[in-house]
């Protein structure tokens, strides 16, 4: 998705190197004039930027690294975001586990409640680190005018987004490690090697899906101050009907079906399948993955069509 101008035009340094030798005082004007002339020789009908393929350079990768570092820095300096993205899921993990000690979930073939809810919390916490975090960070930065400023610089948009998503994925990995460690050592929820490939694929697809949905949802946020209910409400509501904290099978069928249409239930179910000792290896749930892929398509389409760099005017 690397898009930009062709690189045929000589860079400023190249031009300077071509010049005879130390040009004294008026060098700048002379140089600017030369640049103007060179630009003039370019064809006047320029292919739109987005239709142009520009190979990813090592400089782009370097820039991406800087973006990821900066986004990480911003997240850790934003106390509210840290509490919301990390503390909330961990608190759920601890308290939900403590209040259901020794319980079993009969509908899943009598697995322990721990084996059921640790994957559920894992799904929930990944949604919170990716979706909620991305949606709010983009919405806030649109409100602050950061997006507009960035759009006025040569930074390619794909690097900007990749930086945000990259920083988010670091947090997601951190979250996976925390939840699995707490699950393993606190609740004796084992990771099954036989279903490990399924687990990894589920994590990748689910995280990608909710990241894209975070970007898409940022479009709907018009006033970002103080944490927007537009962002939090959908996934909090979904997490109560999608069998994240308690088995969804206790709910009416229509509600189960409704929840299945959204990507949290498939995410949680597919993760749970990977942990459930009653599910045979390799433990893939193809339909769940397809539903999430479908939402990736929906999120991408919405983002490409409606994304705004500046605040809504008029």
């Amino acid at each position: 998705m690397a898009l930009d101008e062709s690189q045929q035009q000589p860079t400023r340094t190249q031009q300077l190197q071509q010049q005879p030798q130390p040009v004294p005082q008026p060098s700048y004007q002379h140089q600017a004039q030369q640049q103007f002339q060179e630009r003039r020789q370019q064809p006047s009908t320029i292919t739109p930027e987005r239709l142009r393929y520009r190979p990813v350079t090592s400089a782009d990768i370097h820039l991406l690294g800087r973006q990821i570092r900066m986004e990480q820095l911003l997240l850790w300096r934003n106390k509210r975001a840290v509490i919301f993205t990390f503390m909330l899921p961990i608190a759920f993990l601890v308290f939900l586990g403590a209040s259901n000690q020794g319980a079993h979930v009969s509908v899943l073939g009598k697995v322990s409640f721990d084996t059921f809810f640790v994957p559920g919390i894992l799904a929930f916490s990944l949604v919170s680190t990716t979706y909620a975090n991305l949606a709010m960070s983009i919405a806030v930065q649109r409100e602050q005018g950061v997006l507009k400023r960035v759009r006025g610089t040569p930074l390619p948009p794909w690097i900007f987004f990749a930086g945000k998503v990259g920083a988010t994925l670091i947090n997601a990995c951190l979250m996976v490690i925390i939840v699995l460690a707490v699950g393993r050592f606190g609740y004796h929820v084992m990771i099954r090697t036989a279903t490990l490939p399924a687990l990894v694929i589920d994590l990748i697809v689910g995280t990608a899906c909710w990241s894209i949905l975070g970007i898409a949802m940022s479009i709907a946020v018009t006033r970002a101050e103080g944490g927007s209910p537009i962002v939090t409400l959908p996934y909090i509501v979904l997490s109560f009907v999608s069998g994240v904290f308690y088995p969804a099978q206790a709910q009416p069928v229509w509600l189960q079906d409704l929840a299945r249409a959204f990507p949290l239930e498939p995410f949680a179910r597919s993760l749970e399948a990977a942990f459930n000792p009653g599910v045979a290896a390799p433990g893939f749930r193809e339909v769940d993955i397809l539903i999430m892929l479908g939402w990736i398509a929906v999120g991408t389409a919405i983002s490409l069509r409606f994304f705004r760099w500046d605040r809504q005017r008029r």
Partner: protein, 320 residues
């Protein structure tokens, strides 16, 4: 080749023609000041030039490129200082400069940028703790991070104290002396007067005037006002007649109606004498010859032409 060339620019929002056939030309190396009331099409025009908005029709060339389609190459050579600051508040000044300068192929150094806007002593301060004026100076530094050929400055000194404003003006004049082109919008007429080589006024989506700040709207030729205090012991009737200038008044064409050439109108307001005239030089000659021959002093004497603000307000009347 001009830095900016615009012909017949049109942009509509629904039924509203926000920009309605704008032509303008900014020469390389000049400070061009774009004035206009809110809602006159100013921001829309600037944002089209900056590459933020698409136009409906018209020809736009900025640094020889079409801002709509030239993407990264175009942005490499321009600097934009937006009205809304647009900064991540959790970053420190030096972190923000270091971040944004890396977006450009040939950036200025952080130290140079800090120095340019006199923020060196605040380098490690988080942006959220900066004052409004300091934030604005950081904005300016960020606009200059890529060492651009053309700089768009949108109300650059709003919120500055007078000393900081002079500082910003010096920076802008410094950029001009480096051969940079500066496209400036402002609501401060003294700023336009002090900085601009040329001023354009947009009103109702059209350019209604474009000239140097001293000539725009006929400032150089319209009526001037002379004002002084009526000397003690002198009554209005003792003043020399400007309506009927005497024959020895030099430099008036004797073959034409002398009163009309001077076109002076004298009135008394309280204890002040106010004269409106097209030829303040000649009116003053008459008045001062009269006063010096009588040994009187014209206390509080001023001669004023309409200010840029007066002209601007007259030009944009329809918009308000």
């Amino acid at each position: 080749m001009p830095a900016i060339e615009v012909k017949g620019l049109v942009k509509s929002y629904g039924n509203l023609r926000a920009v309605d056939g704008v032509d303008l030309c900014v020469e390389a190396g000049e400070v061009y000041c774009f004035l206009g009331p809110n809602g006159a099409g100013k921001t829309t025009t600037v944002e089209i030039l900056e590459g933020y908005r698409r136009r409906d029709s018209g020809r736009v060339s900025v640094l020889g490129l079409d801002p709509e389609s030239s993407g990264r190459t175009f942005r490499e050579h321009i600097g934009i200082m937006l009205q809304e600051s647009g900064l991540q508040p959790q970053l420190a000044v030096v972190e923000a400069l270091d971040l944004y300068r890396h977006y450009y192929d040939h950036p200025r150094s952080v130290a140079e940028l800090l120095d340019l806007v006199e923020l060196t002593s605040s380098a490690d301060v988080r942006i959220e703790s900066l004052s409004g004026g300091q934030r604005r100076r950081l904005d300016l530094a960020l606009a200059l991070a890529g060492d651009p050929d053309l700089v768009f400055l949108d109300e650059p000194t709003t919120g500055f104290d007078p000393a900081a404003r002079r500082g910003a003006w010096r920076t802008i004049q410094g950029l001009r002396s480096l051969g940079k082109t500066i496209f400036l919008t402002t609501h401060y007429m003294d700023e336009a007067q002090a900085l601009a080589d040329r001023v354009a006024v947009i009103s109702g989506g059209k350019i209604v005037a474009e000239d140097s700040p001293d000539r725009i709207g006929g400032r150089d030729t319209t009526t001037s006002e002379i004002r002084f205090l009526l000397p003690e012991g002198v009554s209005a009737g003792d003043l020399p007649s400007l309506e009927q200038p005497s024959d020895d008044l030099p430099s008036l064409d004797p073959s034409l109606d002398r009163a009309r050439q001077l076109d002076a109108e004298l009135s008394i307001r309280g204890d002040a004498v106010v004269v409106h005239t097209n030829r303040p030089d000649l009116a003053l000659y008459v008045l001062t010859s009269w006063s010096t021959s009588r040994g009187l002093e014209l206390a509080g004497l001023t001669v004023s032409r309409p200010t840029l603000e007066d002209v601007y307000l007259a030009l944009t009347e329809d918009d308000s």
